[in-house]
Every structure is written in structure tokens, then in C-alpha cells.
Symmetry: C2
Subunit: 538 residues, 2 copies
């Protein structure tokens, strides 16, 4: 993946002149300057560091070159991408190291603990919440990026139980390709799927677009291997369920590299479905659609995909740079819901029929297969579009939350209002929302924002920070979680105390102190930062 945008150069697409004109007219956007390869802060790794790491992992897998440091310097949040456009010197890890075994990682962590070197694990680098940024504490003299890209084994595939052990460095498509050799699939398709890693999915509690049928990634994991400075731990080995005390697995899931480095996960896999079925529906209003989705989930009907766009998102096609905004003229009526069904022929048919009956009984109108197939085809495309829109001079980003069904209207209103209060001060902004993850007791709300950027990159960043802050504040005040599947990273830090309470923070800190007494793992990031300890950018 390119260091300064989503996807590869091949995927990049330019907005058509007509869309560019429309963006100018509606959002008042102008094309900003695009910086080319801003310099990195010089590496602070010593010759001894490089020598030591080389002895452990082999010299081919240690680098202080800018070419290796640059892609490990930032994630893919809007603010990360803006920073590359600012043109100023960018901070980066001082050295990138790619170990091949748990034992090698353990040696690295022991050395870094002794040497006061901060450690940031690196998987796919797709964090959209500042999870990759190489923060360090003041007492740390350098930051090493520990890259998991050599952990790519698929081991112990058990097609009877539906289990396989996947290396943390496998990217989504590679994992699926290797499992397909056994006739199996993982079924985890977040928007980051093409570039995100298996270890990252576990470290951040990722949730895929088929979560209705396949569960969240934290539902899929049966066992993990984690290397901590205190040794290797394999939480969750008791499969498929246990009453043997608190769940350590659930403590490492979502730990975002703070307690240790996840190297392998044993996950639930499925036979590749015999059939797939598709159907899209239209609802007169978002609330009607939400009620219908709720009825489907609470009946247990069992679709693999169940999602709903609000009126504005339904009228805008976000999957293609050629088509964005063009649906305005066709005027899609109401709110679009997408359903997909998978499994055996019989299962897909039964779940399809039951789901359709429930949706129709709750005010839905079938609009056929095509919109659902189109959605599936374009479903990983939106992040590429963000870069195109940035190139075209627009501010574009997403944020997400979740709440109980009864609270959906209130939360959607509050977050939308908070975003608008900041983003529509000077001009119009597109504030779109969809439900993409459904549960028996509630659902996620995912917001996509397109607004005019300011002429200065710094001003634009400030504007987005203000909008994001207002929206997150609205979540905490209106019964939402600060993140449903993007994770904490650095961006959600200020709200973690509100989210889990002071005692909760203290518990996580106690676990961190036990496993990482030197405080080298992601120092200054996520939870520890709340205990009065703040890291500094390199």
C-alpha cells in the first residue's frame, strides 16, 4: 500500500471534471497543494541497536532506511494522510525490524526493555485512529517498529471443527487464498480487508461487513499467541467455551499492542458457501428501516449481510469515482437496505425467505438483486475514493459508534448535529450514515462526511479535529460507544476514561505493569496515556 494514501497507485482514480465542478459548486472545494515525499525525522537508532537486531533476525530484516521507515510512520486516518500533504518533516520509527518467530520477538522485547526503546507493532498499517503513529515516552531514546510480515503461516487446519491457526502478518486476501485450498473461508471482510492483517483484526476488535452471519473478529478467535516482555502467553486455549475463570483472551483482544505482540490466532473458519443470494430493499424512512433490521435480528432469521443507508447516503453512490453524486438526478427513493445470504442451498434459501418476509412485513419494498450485487462488488472501494476526494480538495472521513436499538434515533440525531455544527459553518457538508453491523440488542452507526477543505492543510486538520471531537462527545453523552470497530488508537484516547471509568483504566494499567514493567509497548498510546502519562511524538 502507498505510504500516503489508501491502496496502491494502480487503484488511484481521479474524480471526473463534472464531479469536481459539482464539489466546487455544492461544497465550495478548491484543489489543494499535494506535497511530494516530505522528509522524515532522522533515525535515532544506534549502530549497536542495528547490530543487535541484525543478530536476532538477520540483517536483511533490519532497516533504518527512509524507504522502510516511511510506510511504518503513519496509519490511514484522514489526519495521517493530511500530514503527508503538509510538507513538513514527519516523525517515523527509528528502525524497522521483521522477526520470524516468537522467540525472536521475545529477545527484541527484552533488549528494548533494557535499552528503553519503545516498541510499536506493525501489521497492515491500516489504522484509521492513529494506531500506527510511533509515539514514545520521554524516557525512551528511540522507537522500533516490529513488523509481523513474516508471520504468514496457516497451520493446523481442522476442517471438521472449523478451525485454523493464522499468522498475524497474513493480510486478509492471503489468509482467504490459503484457506480456500482447504475449501474453507474466514468470512471476515472489513473495508480494510485488502490491506489489513490478521493480527491487527484481533488487536483492534475488527468487525467485518458479514458480521451478521459470521460474527465480529473477536467472536471468531478461539486462541491467541502473544509475546509479552514477560514471556509468551496463549490465552483462550480452551475451545470452544469454558467456565474456567475470567477470559484472558478477551483481555488481549482489543489490547492494541499495549500488553504484547499478537503473533498467531486460532480462528473459526467455514466451508466456502455453496450458494450466495442477494436482495436489496427500500424503506420509506431510516427509522422504518432500522425497525425492520431489528425485527430480522430479533427473529433470528440469520442473513450474512444486513445493512441500511440513510436517505442521504442512499442517494449518493460512494463506490465509484465515476458515479459519486450522480444518483442525485435519478433520485433513489427512501433508504436502501442490502441483504446477502450464504451457506448450504437450503440454509441460504430459508434465511433469505424468512428475512424477506420480516422486511416486507415491516414496510420494505424489494428493489431486486442488483443493488446488493453492486454493493458487494464495490465494497472495498470507498477508502480509495477518499484520496480522490482529498485530491479534489474535499475533507472526507468516517467515524462510527454503536448503541441499543431503542437509542438509535437519538444517537444518530446527536452525532449528525454535532458534525453539522462544526462542518457547515461556512458551507454545506454531506453527512451520511448507515447501519452496517446488527446485533439482537442494537447496531452500529457509521458516518461518512464530505465537506469543503480549507486552503491550508493545518486549518483543515483543525476543522476535522473539532468535528470529530464534537461527534465523539455526542456519542458519550448519548449512549454510544466511542468506537464500534475502528478501535482506540490515539484518536479516541481523550474519551476512554468516560468509556470505561477510572477503575477500568486502573485495571488495564495493572495488567500492563505486570506484563510490560519497563513500559516499552506503545508507550504514550491508548490506555496508559490516561494515567497521567503522555507520550510525545518523536
Amino acid at each position: 500500500m502507498s505510504y500516503n494514501k489508501w491502496g496502491t497507485d494502480d487503484e488511484a482514480k481521479e474524480i471526473s471534471p463534472s464531479i469536481q465542478k459539482m464539489l466546487g459548486k455544492v461544497l465550495g472545494v478548491t484543489r489543494p497543494q499535494i506535497a511530494t515525499e516530505p522528509p522524515l525525522v532522522a533515525s535515532r537508532a544506534t549502530a549497536e541497536d542495528v547490530q543487535f537486531f541484525s543478530r536476532i533476525v538477520g540483517e536483511d530484516f533490519v532497516s533504518t532506511d527512509d524507504a522502510h521507515r516511511r510506510p511504518r510512520a503513519r496509519g490511514k486516518s484522514y489526519l495521517d494522510l493530511l500530514e503527508w500533504r503538509e510538507g513538513k518533516e514527519v516523525s517515523a520509527p527509528d528502525v524497522a525490524v521483521s522477526p520470524a518467530s516468537e522467540e525472536e520477538i521475545l529477545e527484541i522485547l527484552e533488549y528494548c526493555s533494557e535499552q528503553q526503546i519503545a516498541v510499536v507493532p506493525f501489521g497492515g498499517g491500516t489504522s484509521v485512529v492513529g494506531g500506527v503513529s510511533p509515539l514514545k515516552a520521554e524516557n525512551h531514546r528511540a522507537v522500533v517498529s516490529v513488523d509481523l510480515s513474516r508471520f504468514t503461516d496457516v497451520e493446523d487446519v481442522d476442517t471438521t471443527s472449523g478451525l485454523a491457526t493464522l499468522g498475524a502478518g497474513l493480510l486478509g486476501p492471503h489468509a482467504e487464498m490459503k484457506l480456500a485450498e482447504y475449501g474453507m473461508q474466514l468470512g471476515h471482510f472489513p473495508q480494510s480487508f485488502p490491506y489489513a492483517s490478521i493480527g491487527g483484526f484481533a488487536a483492534t476488535r475488527s468487525s467485518g461487513q458479514n458480521s451478521a452471519g459470521y460474527g465480529r473478529f473477536d467472536d471468531m478467535v478461539r486462541e491467541m499467541t502473544v509475546v509479552t516482555p514477560k514471556g509468551i502467553i496463549r490465552p483462550g486455549k480452551a475451545s470452544p467455551a469454558t467456565a474456567a475463570g475470567p477470559s484472558l483472551k478477551q483481555l488481549f483482544m482489543g489490547s492494541e499492542g499495549l500488553f504484547g505482540i499478537i503473533t498467531r490466532v486460532r480462528v473459526h473458519i467455514h466451508p466456502i458457501p455453496e450458494v450466495k443470494r442477494y436482495e436489496a430493499f427500500s424503506f420509506p424512512s431510516f427509522n422504518d428501516g432500522v425497525n425492520a433490521l431489528r425485527a430480522v435480528e430479533q427473529s433470528g432469521a440469520g442473513p450474512a449481510v444486513l445493512r441500511l443507508s440513510d436517505e442521504i447516503e442512499s442517494s449518493v453512490n460512494l463506490t465509484s469515482t465515476d458515479k459519486i453524486g450522480e444518483n442525485d438526478e435519478e433520485e433513489v427513493k427512501g433508504c436502501l437496505a442490502i441483504t446477502m445470504f450464504e451457506g448450504t442451498e437450503e440454509h441460504a434459501q430459508r434465511t433469505h425467505e424468512e428475512t424477506r418476509n420480516v422486511l416486507l412485513a415491516h414496510g420494505g419494498t424489494s428493489v431486486g438483486e442488483e443493488p446488493a450485487r453492486q454493493w458487494e462488488k464495490g465494497r472495498f472501494g470507498a477508502p480509495v475514493l477518499r484520496d480522490s476526494l482529498m485530491d479534489a480538495g474535499a475533507l472526507c472521513e468516517t467515524l462510527e459508534t454503536a448503541t441499543d436499538w431503542a437509542n438509535v434515533p437519538r444517537l444518530k440525531r446527536a452525532v449528525g448535529k454535532a458534525l453539522a455544527s462544526v462542518l457547515t459553518e461556512e458551507s454545506t457538508a454531506l453527512i451520511m450514515c448507515h447501519v452496517s453491523h446488527v446485533y439482537a440488542t442494537g447496531c452500529s452507526l457509521y458516518f461518512t462526511i464530505v465537506a469543503g477543505a480549507s486552503d491550508s492543510v493545518e486549518e483543515t486538520a483543525q476543522k476535522w479535529k473539532a468535528a470529530k471531537s464534537a461527534a465523539t462527545e455526542a456519542m458519550t453523552l448519548n449512549g454510544g460507544t466511542v468506537t464500534h470497530h475502528h478501535a482506540v488508537g490515539t484518536d479516541h484516547l481523550p474519551w476512554m476514561n468516560e468509556e470505561i471509568g477510572e477503575l477500568g483504566i486502573n485495571i488495564l494499567q495493572a495488567v500492563k505493569n505486570e506484563l510490560d514493567p519497563a513500559g516499552i509497548l506503545n508507550p504514550g498510546k491508548t490506555f496508559s496515556a490516561l494515567n497521567g502519562f503522555r507520550g510525545t511524538l518523536l
Copy 2:
């Protein structure tokens, strides 16, 4: 519930003379002496203690009387029940206190921390793994039993989202009765249902007989209120799912009173099902049945109940004292599977049809509704039968584990062999097994044992301890968890290091040190015992 047996006096049933004769013939049992009300160790609570607790909770809710200490002295494991029959002085908590609010509990915990008094939370008292026993550390001068029976509110019922907050002291039937007023149900029916408490379900990761359709209790909980010596914490408030870090909720679930006292849980509730459907099936062998259950779970067909008895259990009716063993003559062929379906008319029908098709395709033969209805009718009866069998002179107990589907035959064989190696030294023993909890990747295995007791209660206890130890050892060596839903208690302590590893134990100890620095909560029990610290019986 009676302190020295399961259920109430009304429920007690005597084994018929013909069964008694059969037990004598087959297992060589003789009727043992039954002790009547053995004395308790005298209370060590001081007048100041009683005065202090009375000031907090009111004097009506503090007692050092034997009548109040006796039912809080032991759980309901076979070893617990044997102890009452031994006739010797029995240890018991020194004082029973029943607070009515979180604030009162906090004051109690603060006092006990200062005064070095151990605290054992008490819900329904149904633990079958030594979870109730009033262990204390050597430095503690007394033990207080903190009774949750005044936490019986049902609050904030949200029928839209399917959520309600239940007091930890509500027993299963009371919770269901109160929810029924809203047309809702919890759907959690473990065998302990009539007497176990909501708080206990959460503290032990209970799993109900409808877990195929409704999930385990740890799946149902959205939020908890827990009082720790360091304050009140509400883990899991972000509903229905979140990526905001490690799951604190999953750390308190299964914590068995070690980190704090659970006072309320917000749980997922369901509309009372429109319909219920039933069907039983017979399979030529246990492995055939296991494969069929696996196919149902992996297809996603969605029954509410799915269980399978092995050949021996299928031939023995365990639900009624009048009928035990009598099926021997009728000779039930093969292995009996029970299915139940619930929900809307359409959902129950569709899941029933799909499940039936899968079971038939995997070698099942329908044997009609009746065995499934009979099972449902008698499903809470087995623990009462244990007392009847004890009265008749038999050793009778259960134990359970879980594993991946592919490992089921190996684990069943290993545990069965371990039990037989101890229990069939002198005479025959009935060793029965069933699958009662199914998951996509594996299932539980539940063993019921009936054997001849020795003439001496002490010898019988030793014999059972040896059998339990051999069986649990077999679990750890053959890919099983040491407990699928009975929890750790004191009985599974010796295997926890094997189950979660030394680093795992250290993590739990670090959390305990953070929340309970004086070490008053269940000292000497469960995990802390593994860190070289062993409690002593009063």
C-alpha cells in the same frame, strides 16, 4: 433450599424398593448412615463486628445464628453433601450479612479490608465445585457471608432493544416471572435454574440448556455492576458491541467473587416465544450423533435446544426416581438426541425443518415429540435424584468439559477410562455421557456417574476425589477444558495453572491486587491459591 441436599423437602423422593434392589445387585450399594444436623464451628465474629454490620444494613439483616450460617456453609457438590453426612463439626461463615445497596456493600468491604475479615459472596448457594465454602487466609480472623438476596429488582426493561437490568439476588424463576410481566423471557435454563441466582450465573459463566438458541450467560450480559474494595465499577456499558479496548466485562464474568461482588447485570432478553416445537431422534452410535449435531451447528440451522445422550445414558431414564434403570428392559436403541425450536411461528418452523433435514441426512431417525417433551418436563429433576441415590447408598455426581468437534471421541474415551479406572475397581459403575451445549467449533461433554459408595463416608469422599482427579487430569491431557460451565470454585484449583498458564495466573493476581489489595475477597480460593497462597478452612 435445604442446606444438606438439593431442592426443598417437598421435592425429595425415595427410590422405589425395586430400584433399591437393582442398585444393590448391580452396583453393590448398601444404605449408609444419614447424619442429622451436625454442629457448626462456633462463630468468631465479635460483638463489634455485628454492631458495625447492623449499623450499615439494619440488625434484621445480620446474623450469627446457626440457622442462618448453616445454609451458607456449603454448596451442593457431592463432596459438600457428603460432609453433612459425616456427622463431624462443619465450618461455616462467622456471620451472614444481607446488604440492600452497592453503597452498603462498599462500606462492608472497607470494614473487612481494615479488619482482616474474609468475604464470601452468596447468591443461590448452588455451586457444585466448592464455590461457596468459607475459606479464609491465615491472617483473617473471620469470614462474612455477603448475601445478595435483597438485590431483586428488575429495572429499565427495554422491550425494543431486548434488555433488562436484573438484581444479582434474583433466582432464575423469579427473574422469569418478573420479565413475563413484560411479555419477555431470559431463556437461561441451567439445571440449577430453580435455585441459582442471576449474580451467580455471571460470576461463574453459567450455561443454560437452551444455549444453542439463547447463548451462554456470558453471551447474554451487556453490562454489570460490581462492587470492589476500591469502588463501584460498571464494566461493559457500551452496548451491544465495542472496539474500545480489552473487555473488562469478560474479566469480571467468571471472576467468582475474587475481584468484587456482582450486584446487577444488564442482560439480553427475548419476547416469550410464540411457539415451541419438539422432536427427538435416534442415532446408531454416539459418534454418528455427534457428527449430526456438528452438521446442524455448522449449517447455522438454529435450534433452541440440541443435545445427545450416549448409549448408556439413552438406556437409563434419569429424570424420575420411579423409572431409573427401568428402560433397561425396553432397550432404547442407540443414542437419543433432543431438539427444541422456539420463536415466531415461521422461525420455529423453518429452523425445525432445516435441523430435521440435516439430522436425517446424517443418519438420524425421528422418534417423535414425546421424548423431547419428557426431557423438558424433567429437566431440573436430576439433582434431586442425586440425593435419593445417596440415600439409597450410591455415589452419584457429574462433571463436564468441552472440546473441538474433531477431538470429541478422544476426550470422551479418555475421561470415561479415567473414571472407570478408579470407580470400577470393586464393582460396576454407570458412567454416562451427553452433549448438552453445542457451538460451531465444538461441544460440551457432561458425565454422570452412579457407583457404589463405601460404608464409610470418608472412604467414599476419597474414592470420588480420586475419580474426579483422574478425570480432570484426562481433560487437561486430551484437549478439554477443566470446566465448561460449572466454574472453578475450589475443586478445579489444582488444574488452573495448566488451564491458563503461569502468566495467566499472574495477570489475574495483578487485577486482584489492584482491586482487593487487602486480599479479603474469597481468599484462598480459585486463582490466588495458585500463587503459593493457600487459604485454610475455618
